[in-house]
């Protein structure tokens, strides 16, 4: 066999140079890896860097070796604000390491000791982590070990996910597939399907996020910290105590979202991380179900037996991986000038939206209109007849969407917040739409183009600006 078992390496020393990097100081000693602050040995570039070095015990430790292999394979394929920037790697034929950007802010782990923490902070953490997860899922990767110690924050506030040793990339071989005979993950956070060895559902990450949010809200873990497979399997049939029982001031909508993340069946969780981020940022739009008001009660033996029986031998549904599931659950944004546009144009936009919704069964639709305000001075917020402008726009928006809502209901898709309504107040409608789309990870904006040339010349084209500046697909409808 040519694959030499990884040799033991002499411990690194401060001042030592490994390839192009000088070891400066040890930042962290972990069970699986050490983290060192490093600089470029040639003195170029001064950005803060860290080197992650696996701890290999006795040369025969498949867990740390394979995890590190996976991370070395996946990290270079990732980009964007929500992961540390990959710089370099050294493989096991020499000194194995990964050099990456050093994220200055600490991890969420210490904050866990303060739990329960203020609820608005819980919501903020949830929205930021969900946003980061969506960015990861869009890059074909499921994290599979989401927990507070693997979430960092940039000084600018964005959540950054670290440690991809258990992750799964849709388009790269799964090196962990055969490796372990026990479920992989961290006990308290592992999703039911991970307990059953399924590693290709991005909604596993939403379960783990649900566990985090539950813990931050209530101060306790929803499923404890089991250390045996038998203990892990309990989450396949036992329901967690509802957060409001432990902390009554938890709003029903937040309990709804947390319990939705903790559903046993991935299909009952939010369809995507973006959809969860969206709801966390729009509490008023969360459709409440029985989950919202659920209270702890002693589960009857018969019911527990029923749920246990249902879990015995239940095969998890195999999802299509990060790419398929994320693409299946897009967020559409219909941006409408309900007050000013031609009725024919509004109708044409509606037809386009209907067509898109038909092809994407898990899609959600956000209907938005911008109430133009002035940059300087006070705006009249009431109509001459005394009614609220804001409310009038909302009424018109709902009226516009009524046929869509009816059609979805007829198909049995009129569920949980499938269609939401938003009136923004902003001086520049195009900017407001672009910002809204970015903040809510909208996948596709549909809007109408002003028809008359004269008006467009005078007012400028909102749709042209949105099409040019938005990060997502933009469909401009004309009549």
């Amino acid at each position: 066999m040519a694959s030499e078992a990884p040799a033991r390496f002499a411990p690194l020393q401060v001042g030592q140079v490994v390839d192009a990097y000088r070891i400066e100081e040890r930042l962290h000693q972990g069970g699986m890896a050490n983290l060192w602050r490093v600089t470029r040995a040639d003195g170029t570039a001064t950005e803060p860097l860290i080197m992650k070095v696996p701890r290999i015990k006795g040369g025969e430790d498949p867990a740390s070796i394979v995890g590190f292999e996976v991370e070395q394979m996946i990290m270079p394929a990732l980009g964007g604000l929500h992961v540390p920037k990959f710089i370099a790697k050294g493989d096991f034929t020499g000194q194995p390491y990964i050099v990456m950007e050093h994220i200055a802010g600490g991890s969420l782990r210490p904050r866990l000791d303060d739990a329960p923490i203020p609820l608005d902070e819980v919501v903020q953490i949830g929205a930021k982590v969900a946003t980061a997860l969506h960015d990861l899922h869009r890059q074909h990767v499921i994290h599979l070990d989401v927990k507070p110690s693997n979430v960092l924050f940039r000084p600018t506030g964005e959540a950054v996910l670290i440690d991809f040793g258990l992750s799964r990339h849709d388009r790269l071989p799964d090196l962990l597939e055969e490796e372990f005979e026990l479920p992989m993950g961290t006990g308290p956070y592992m999703s039911p399907e991970q307990v059953q060895f399924v590693r290709n559902d991005p909604r596993s990450d939403l379960f783990a996020l649900g566990v985090m949010l539950y813990h931050f809200s209530t101060g306790v873990r929803p499923f404890g910290a089991p250390t045996t497979v038998r203990g892990l399997r309990k989450r396949l049939y036992e329901q967690p105590v509802p957060p409001r029982t432990l902390r009554p001031e938890t709003p029903p909508w937040l309990q709804e979202l947390i319990l939705r993340c903790l559903e046993v069946q991935p299909a009952k969780r939010p369809a995507s991380a973006a959809q969860l981020a969206f709801e966390l940022q729009h509490p008023e739009q969360v459709v409440l179900t029985e989950r919202a008001e659920r209270q702890a009660r002693k589960t009857g033996r018969f019911e527990l037996f029923k749920r246990w029986f249902g879990a015995v031998g239940a095969e998890p549904v195999v999802a299509g991986g990060a790419t398929t599931q994320t693409a299946r659950a897009p967020i559409l944004l219909a941006a409408l000038d309900v007050a000013g546009a031609e009725p024919g144009l509004l109708e044409a936009v509606r037809e386009t939206v209907e067509r898109l919704l038909r092809t994407e069964p898990s899609a959600r639709l956000a209907c938005l209109t911008v109430m133009k305000t002035h940059l300087i001075g006070t705006d009249e917020l009431v109509e001459p007849d005394g009614s609220s402008k804001h409310l009038n726009l909302l009424v018109q928006l709902k009226h516009w969407a009524h046929p869509i809502v009816k059609a979805l209901e007829a198909q049995g898709r009129g569920d949980a917040g499938r269609v939401t309504f938003h009136v923004l107040e902003a001086p520049d409608p195009a900017n407001a739409i672009v910002e809204y789309a970015a903040k809510n990870q909208v996948d596709h904006v549909v809007m109408g183009a002003r028809s008359s040339g004269g008006l467009r010349r005078y007012l400028g084209s909102v749709s042209a600006q949105v099409a040019a500046e938005a990060d997502c697909t933009v469909t401009v409808v004309r009549t």
Partner: protein, 247 residues
């Protein structure tokens, strides 16, 4: 030095031309042809000349079972369709082309790489690698870190760890795959001249030894032209049809 790994060309000039052009545009500087240059397609002479030309400039080429059959002449065990193709192909080739095939090695080793048509455990017996069992058998029969082989027409990647854990992977074209140094790899780029995974586009792969990065590729080519030539040559029409469906 990026390698283009090209296999099971099967006398399909249109596919080979498209793949070579694609590989060149992606920076390929070295070429490895993993056998089965003839059989099925209508341009055996052109394809052999093309491979021979690359070999004269340093490319690797190994013998495939179809090449061996054409050199030996039809065997009594062959089904009539195969016998017809072998006889037709032999008739198209001149002595130098037949001689080129006859002198091809079964396997070539270069540093930590092994190039072979069918497998590493018994290259001359043409056993297929249809799953993990055979892949492990092949990986255990060589010291090479990377085995590149053809014979199977569907692209596939197998790996084996020092502790004997194995895995297989159906690749996605165009995604670079870093091949970790702690395991050994068996790479089947898939057929250039007769893809069989339901996608008619020609298969090949690029491998960069310096970064240990492998990228499977799919290249569309003039299927209609290649298939019309098969019909015009009087070869079995089924061979023309299957190119359209990639099966």
């Amino acid at each position: 030095m990026k390698y283009a790994l090209i296999t099971d060309l099967h006398a399909n000039r249109e596919a080979v031309e498209a793949v070579l052009e694609h590989a060149k545009s992606r920076g390929a500087e070295r070429y490895a042809f993993l056998g089965d240059f003839v059989g099925y397609g209508a341009d055996p002479g052109w394809v052999i000349d093309c491979v021979r030309d690359h070999v004269s400039r340093g490319a690797v080429a190994v013998l495939g079972n179809h090449d061996a059959a054409v050199v030996q002449g039809p065997l009594p065990t062959m089904i009539p369709e195969a016998r017809q193709v072998v006889e037709w192909t032999r008739a198209q080739l001149d002595a130098a082309q037949l001689d080129f095939l006859a002198t091809l090695p079964l396997a070539v080793s270069d540093a930590d790489r092994l190039f072979v048509h069918a497998n590493a455990w018994a290259p001359a017996d043409w056993g297929y690698i249809t799953g993990r069992m055979e892949a492990v058998r092949s990986l255990q029969a060589t010291n090479a870190r990377y085995t590149f082989c053809g014979h199977m027409h569907e692209p596939k990647l197998y790996h084996l760890t020092a502790t004997g854990k194995t895995g297989d992977f159906t690749p996605m074209a165009g995604t670079p795959i870093p091949l970790s140094a702690v395991r050994r790899w068996l790479v089947i780029p898939g057929s250039t001249g007769q893809p069989r995974d339901g996608n008619p586009a020609a298969c090949y792969a690029l491998f960069e030894p310096e970064t240990a990065t492998l990228t499977f590729q799919r290249v569309p080519y003039d299927v209609t032209g290649a298939s019309a030539k098969i019909r015009a040559a009087g070869l079995p029409p089924r061979l023309a049809d299957r190119l359209h469906h990639g099966e």
